[in-house]
């Protein structure tokens, strides 16, 4: 009978082994590499904190860090708030609502490479967006969305938001459907209008989901890579280059694995701090 106590751990073991081998071991390895000079071919060479010192002196690192924060500030509120409205919209009992739900979800399952190239066309100097704006008489000259230092990063953000909306909408939808209808019925009897019902019932009941979405979208925003890789390559003049893109370039274009690992460790710490802040702030709100 004693074996019984062991059984749950044995069930946990395969998961732990896989996580350990493919997540934690590489993570520890990256931390170790961040203290070395490693080019993938010769043996890593221990150089203490040199990578970090160089990193903090690198203007480009600070620029990409700033861009990452701009990205975070631009993308997260949009991804936290807009999907709530979408979820409320598609939570109605209408004929063919399934169609609308899947329509909003399609960007999520679209390959980011395909979407990136399509958006690239939209943004071109002679692309769809400039054409429409010109037709409406809003602009006189085409705007070089992806090749101007003022607009490139924002143009890419739009794609990230567009792509994420459906995913977070589904999370909220699950949340909405877990709210008992009796609450709304009671509120209606008390004479609450549509707005009051949503601000007093929907939003508070959705708070745990808002927390999840905030954390998930923050992490996603800090790790953004594909959109940038495909649409701007970080340009022009690094104005749309984020930290992950910088890490990628250092690691795979320049083979500075140790240096890139150091930047990776910094990114990890920042992400961790952000998630903790989120948990603290939002967690309190929920209990209050």
């Amino acid at each position: 009978m004693r074996t019984n106590k062991l059984t749950p751990y044995l069930f946990l073991l395969p998961g732990c082994v896989i996580l350990g081998a493919f997540i934690f071991y590489p993570m520890l390895q990256a931390i170790w590499l961040s203290f070395t000079n490693y080019n993938m071919v010769s043996e890593p060479d221990f150089i203490k904190f040199d990578n970090y010192e160089n990193l903090f002196q690198d203007e480009l690192f600070w620029k990409t860090l700033k861009n990452t924060f701009i990205y975070l500030i631009g993308v997260v509120p949009a991804l936290v708030i807009v999907p709530i409205f979408l979820a409320v919209l598609v939570n109605q009992k209408l004929k063919g609502i399934g169609f609308f739900r899947s329509a909003y979800y399609i960007p999520v399952v679209t390959s980011l490479v395909v979407a990136g190239i399509a958006w690239d066309w939209v943004y071109k100097e002679n692309g769809l967006l400039n054409y429409v704006l010109d037709l409406l008489g809003i602009i006189a000259e085409p705007i070089p969305w992806l090749t101007s230092t003022d607009t490139a990063i924002f143009a890419v953000m739009v794609v990230t938001v567009w792509k994420g909306l459906g995913y977070y909408m589904i999370i909220y939808l699950a949340g909405l459907q877990s709210i008992p209808t009796s609450l709304y019925e009671a509120a209606q009897i008390d004479g609450a209008n549509w707005w009051q019902q949503h601000t007093r019932i929907t939003i508070p009941m959705l708070m745990p989901f808002v927390l999840i979405v905030t954390i998930m979208s923050s992490i996603a925003a800090m790790k953004v890579f594909e959109e940038i890789y495909i649409m701007t390559g970080g340009g022009p003049l690094h104005s749309s280059e984020t930290l992950v893109f910088y890490i990628y370039k250092e690691a795979f274009d320049r083979l500075n694995m140790g240096y890139a690992s150091a930047a990776g460790v910094v990114l990890f710490i920042l992400t961790l701090i952000f998630s903790l802040i989120n948990l603290k702030v939002m967690g309190k709100d929920k209990t209050a």
């Binding site: 074996t3 019984n4 062991l6 059984t7 044995l10 069930f11 073991l13 395969p14 082994v17 896989i18 081998a21 080019n39 993938m40 071919v41 010769s42 071109k124 100097e125 002679n126 085409p142 070089p144 992806l146 090749t147 101007s148 230092t149 701007t232 390559g233 340009g235 022009p236 003049l237 690094h238 795979f252 274009d253 320049r254 083979l255």
Partner: protein
């Protein structure tokens, strides 16, 4: 009882995970041991990687392999085709985990990165002088980094300008006199923009092309021993000013700054650009935009005061980790011999690096019913004598390239004057070269 069985099963599964995880190494060792013991007495297996040749050239490569295996019954070739975008990473991973293939098709930029790390066989020693002479001199020399020749040249290309004759006519220009120099390119662009609203020239600034343009305009990139930047001269400034002017006067598309060749080909195919250096794309244009293809007339590369023209090279390298260097080099030479190269170049618009193959009429005479593709090939081959690798392999090449691209972008965007940008690039280069 049931629980005990379950426990046993769990232990078994976990044991399997561990065994298979560790097992990989053993299996690899085994196969290597086999290779060794077999290599001496029986058969050697050569692992051969190419860059994105499947499925278009499957038949050709398989044919070459079959011929080689027939001639050398003791050598077996194991062919693997890798998508171009993955090859860099795949070869790096292979080299770092000591499982490198024996023969690989790489471009010089990436090959030189591996050569910097001393991971490639020096062909200067591995190939006989007699064999060396069979290759076009410029192509052989294109693969030198310091005193090492890190690759055997496979196929080559030179830059050919593609001209959309229809736009030339719309603008009242003579398509028989396509732009030959940077100055003409600018004048033509002005006329075309004025008359048709379309763009004339679309210079690509992708990859090493900024550096190439500078060399063609007469700038030297570094001093003799490659320790200091040497481009902060009137010639270098001219190059910066040239592109800044084109960009700011809206004579070239704004996408030029994206440094992405995809934009160039897209716009040419859409009939929005009159000319660009795009000979690699001729088959693609034929397929995607047959009307534009019909109106396409190839001409010699646009050049500057130096009259220099660029040549690019695709390579075959042998990583040092190979255990069968002799067989690997033998196969590399076979793959790149005149006969095999000629057959290859007949399938696609590329030029052979073997001197003998270049003498074939296929590269010298245009028939009556010559298509744009044929003209591209003949134009390309015709300028091979004057063409050279303009940007030699350099250490920390990627950083150098980016520093220059950043500087010229700054000038083009008007965030710095061309001279300020050039000064900045010079400083950045000196820092990188001093590493």
């Amino acid at each position: 009882m049931k629980k005990k069985n379950l426990l046993l099963a769990m232990i078994l599964v976990i044991a399997m995970v561990f065994v298979s995880a560790c097992g990989n190494d053993d299996a690899k060792k085994d196969s290597k041991d086999n290779k060794d013991s077999e290599g001496k007495t029986e058969q050697t297996t050569i692992e051969f990687w190419t860059m994105q040749l499947k499925p278009t050239f499957t038949e050709y490569i398989e044919g070459v392999i079959a011929d080689f295996e027939k001639e050398n019954p003791d050598i077996k070739i194991d062919w693997l085709d890798v998508p171009a975008a993955d090859l860099d990473k795949k070869i790096l991973t292979a080299v770092s985990s000591n499982t490198a293939p024996d023969v690989v098709n790489l471009n010089p930029t990436f090959a030189s990165k591996l050569a910097e790390l001393d991971a490639l066989v020096n062909m200067e020693e591995a190939v006989s002088d007699e064999d060396k002479k069979k290759y076009v001199k410029g192509a052989w020399e294109a693969n030198r980094l310091k005193d090492v020749t890190f690759a055997i040249p496979w196929y080559l290309s030179t830059e050919v300008t593609l001209n959309n004759t229809k736009i030339y006519e719309e603008a009242g220009l003579d398509p028989e006199k396509p732009a030959k120099t940077y100055e003409e390119a600018k004048e033509y662009s002005k006329v075309i923009k004025e008359k048709t609203g379309k763009y004339g020239y679309f210079p690509s600034l992708d990859l090493s092309l900024v550096l190439q343009h500078m060399v063609v305009m007469g700038a030297e990139l570094t001093n003799e021993d490659g320790t200091k930047a040497a481009f902060n001269t009137p010639e270098g400034l001219k190059a910066f000013e040239y592109f800044t002017e084109l960009y700011q006067e809206d004579l070239i598309p704004k996408e030029a700054l994206s440094g992405d060749q995809r934009n160039t080909i897209d716009m040419y195919q859409a009939g929005q650009v009159a000319f660009f250096a795009g000979s690699h794309f001729i088959s693609q244009i034929k397929e995607n935009a047959p009307e534009i293809y019909e109106n396409t007339k190839p001409s010699e590369a646009i050049t500057g005061d130096t009259g220099k023209k660029t040549m690019s090279v695709q390579n075959i390298v042998v990583p040092k980790q190979t255990e069968n260097e002799e067989a690997a080099v033998k196969f590399a030479l076979f793959l790149t011999n005149a006969e095999n190269q000629l057959a290859f170049t007949k399938l696609t618009p590329i030029l052979p690096s073997a001197v003998e193959a270049l003498e074939d009429p296929y590269f010298t005479e245009a028939g009556e019913d010559a298509e744009p593709t044929d003209l591209v090939r003949i134009t390309a081959a015709g300028q091979l004598d004057e063409a050279e690798l303009l940007v030699p392999p350099m250490e920390n090449y990627d950083e150098l390239k980016e520093a220059m691209f950043d500087a010229i972008s700054e000038a083009m965007l008007g965030e710095a004057t061309p001279q300020e940008a050039l000064d900045k690039a010079e400083k950045a280069w000196n820092d990188i070269l001093a590493k």
